[in-house]
Symmetry: C2
Subunit: 158 residues, 2 copies
Amino acid sequence: MPTNSLPADPAHRYFEDYPVGAVFDLGTFCFSEAEIIEFATRYDPQAMHIDREWAARGPLGGVIASGWHTIAGMMRLVADNFLPGNGLPSPGIDEVRWLLPVRPGDTLSVRATVTDARRSRSRPDRGLMTSHVEVLNASGNPVLTMKPMNFIRCRPAG
Amino acid sequence: MPTNSLPADPAHRYFEDYPVGAVFDLGTFCFSEAEIIEFATRYDPQAMHIDREWAARGPLGGVIASGWHTIAGMMRLVADNFLPGNGLPSPGIDEVRWLLPVRPGDTLSVRATVTDARRSRSRPDRGLMTSHVEVLNASGNPVLTMKPMNFIRCRPAG
């Protein structure tokens, strides 16, 4: 698959830079066990995320990251390397799928493919971009996929 | 709408406790401006979430919470007050919708309605529960809605 590139300065990215079919590799992230437990203790305190001993006895063999933590790690790369820096709020996301558990030390890469891009009729200063975002493990298998929608400002005329 | 209750101890909650149509009020949460900026600085560093001065000049009049932060606040109440404590990983979520901006000091309440519950044929020790989760502001308007799926263990026989 081709990999496209965006203007390096996020403030110079516009709707026109996200054509349908463009694929963007956004980088990698990795969580330590301590980070997994810290995030989940605060936001998602289920035993599989925070209880080392309980998780070690179960089928997963140890704690796994909260699915929302995996998304937060992905979002950091989406914010840094994909969306414009001066963006607009997103209306939503479809089909969030957690496909494989994320464990401490897993190196995860993030890839975004633009699947739809349509200029707004009612607000011609922006367009709605839909993408397919995949978080892949070191073997290239998806651990998380989703279909976000984002409003992106159009490049100013002149 | 009726409000149901779950066994107080999360370890005693089973699939059978989540009948279709049951409505659960899960409590409230609220973010300070400092918390909004802290979460977003780490996971979603877009100007609308972390740059007080930029945000104050824009149409929103100040920083708004990352949509993922709002979900994290919701998830804490879902983990504490809705799901069993010894749960199974979720396969995914459909139709995440951010409907209104969340600002510092907003008191948000979380409500979950069971919309589907079917026992697994291939793994009869569990069922798949689908719910509609709403995060409401003090005026009762939804700021966030989503449709999570969760596998829940069935009550052991005897």
